[in-house]
């Protein structure tokens, strides 16, 4: 994939997630959350300046002067309005005070559950492939008001019928992938909400392991959104997940 295409996908995912934060009170970003970092930063710039940005380094409303590769980097701890430790942010979630959280899984199934734990070897009854572990997601997903799942890959191994192991499930708001956006119909199944403008219904259908129905295109990034991202991130830290 060439760099232009990577930037197009990253920008589309970022602005789509940023626009989902227009009415959010507060938002939490965890480990390895490169694209949510940019989405929150952009949402605060353009759509929701009062949005409260919570993170693992524990600074409320950080003011990073550059985009770090790690979303626990101390640049995120350098400036802010107050301090709140990770444990206390989890407590906030446990009390139902966390509004929006970004989470991700290696596999996401049609119920909105995800697997970030392991692939079991059914025959031998043990771990076949060990993933990273779900970090705080088992607590955050069922206890936060709205969870946005994001995934830079979209294929049949990623968007699966049913996860063999459920690391976390709960209050799904949207799933934003490299190709499309899903929402949940009622409490049950994921339905396609929009297809990113550079993709097609055919491509999304061929790369999703559960049935979907046609949907309109995702509104593309505006010149203003792209210009802001480019100015903040001239080096292209936001495409690192696509390498």
């Amino acid at each position: 994939m060439d760099r232009e295409k990577k930037l197009l996908i990253a920008n589309t995912m970022i602005v789509t997630m940023a626009r989902l934060l227009k009415d959010a009170q507060n938002v939490f970003m965890g480990v390895a959350s490169n694209l949510p970092f940019f989405a929150i930063w952009l949402a605060k710039k353009l759509y929701n300046p009062g949005l409260i940005w919570l993170n693992i380094p524990g600074r409320v409303n950080p003011e990073p002067s550059f985009p770090p590769l790690s979303t626990v980097h101390y640049e995120i701890a350098r400036e802010g309005s107050a301090s709140l430790t990770l444990a206390e942010i989890f407590d906030m979630s446990a009390r139902g005070e966390l509004d929006v959280a970004f989470l991700s899984g290696v596999q996401i199934d049609k119920y909105g559950n995800f697997n970030l734990s392991f692939l079991p070897d059914e025959v031998k009854g043990r771990v076949k492939i060990q993933f990273t572990g779900g970090a705080g997601s088992a607590l955050i997903y069922p206890n936060s008001r709205r969870v946005i799942l994001w995934r830079t890959k979209h294929d049949k191994r990623t968007l699966v019928e049913r996860c063999p192991v459920v690391t976390a499930g709960g209050n799904l708001y949207r799933v934003v992938t490299s190709l499309a956006v899903f929402k949940r119909e009622g409490k049950e199944r994921l339905v396609l909400e929009s297809i990113h403008p550079y993709s097609s219904y055919k491509e999304v259908a061929e790369n999703t392991a559960f049935p979907i129905h046609p949907a309109p295109f995702t509104p593309p990034p505006t010149p203003e959104e792209i210009a802001l991202l480019q100015e903040f991130d001239p080096e292209g830290v936001r495409v690192v997940e696509f390498d």
Partner: protein, 262 residues
């Protein structure tokens, strides 16, 4: 005997089979030099815990020092990818990975710190992790509550910015789970960027969050969190991490441990 020790002396306090809570988070303020010394001394059967780890738990898995890892997340981020030696050790059955939610690691440490046998916590929904814990009847109302057992680490191993010779220590910036670990553990070992005078600590008393009375060893290791970062002194080293991640066998690991000392 005084508490100020060499890295070698401090690491030799840890016995095979001990349970260690390791401070810092991912690449931030990890006691990396102490971890390498544990590997150099060939410790066996250690049990380690923290919320989110990478270099430290990956290296201990590679060196065959750990039997059990309890954590919410073990991986590098972005450019460095997954933790290869951790994964291989778990997939080969050499290390038992007790996957937790980061919150249940914190709950286990809180229970130990609070002196109670378990910590009730909010629902974990339909996560498979629920099966690892017992539910109890809510004694004051309706329904059931998840109860996470206390875990008492033998050691909290923390890297700090400065400590005096009694182990009273100052941390700048995010504390992660270091404080709760220091309260939950039976003993503390500190590596510190600098051993300073008591007067120096007194000048920043509000930041002296680790009292020295449970500290058994204080080791001065400037750059002791490297290849991790120590805010605001130094960032993580991509070059060093790439070198570590390129090691393929135990020969290579031995050369690395000989070379990167402390």
């Amino acid at each position: 005997m005084g508490k100020v020790k060499t890295l070698k002396e401090a690491a030799s306090l840890v016995s095979d089979g001990d349970r260690l809570a390791i401070g810092g988070l991912l690449l931030q303020r990890i006691p990396a030099a102490f971890i390498r010394e544990l590997a150099r001394q060939g410790k066996k059967g250690l049990k380690v815990m923290k919320t989110a780890a990478n270099y430290d738990f990956d290296l201990l898995s590679f060196a065959g020092c750990v039997d059990e890892i309890a954590a919410g997340f073990v991986s590098f981020e972005a450019e460095f990818g997954l933790a290869p030696n951790f994964r291989k050790a778990v997939e080969d059955g050499r290390v038992r990975f007790e996957e937790n939610s980061c919150y249940t690691v914190i709950a286990s440490l809180r229970a130990a710190a609070f002196g109670i046998p378990f910590m009730p916590i909010a629902s974990l929904g339909n996560s498979y992790l629920v099966n690892k814990f017992k539910e109890i009847e809510n004694p004051y109302g309706e329904g059931k509550v998840l109860a996470v057992p206390a875990i008492y680490p033998d050691w909290a191993v923390l890297h700090v910015h400065k400590a005096d010779e009694e182990g009273n220590a100052v941390i700048y910036g995010p504390v992660y789970e270091d404080l709760i670990m220091s309260r939950a553990a039976r003993n503390i070992v500190l590596t510190t960027e600098k051993v300073v005078s008591k007067e120096d600590i007194k000048r920043e008393l509000d930041l002296a969050v680790i009292p020295g009375f449970k500290v058994r060893a204080v080791v001065e290791v400037p750059g002791g969190a490297s290849p991790g970062a120590c805010y605001p002194y130094y960032d993580y080293s991509s070059e060093h991490l790439k070198r570590y991640l390129s090691i393929r066998d135990h020969e290579g690991l031995k050369r690395y441990l000989d070379d990167v000392n402390p």
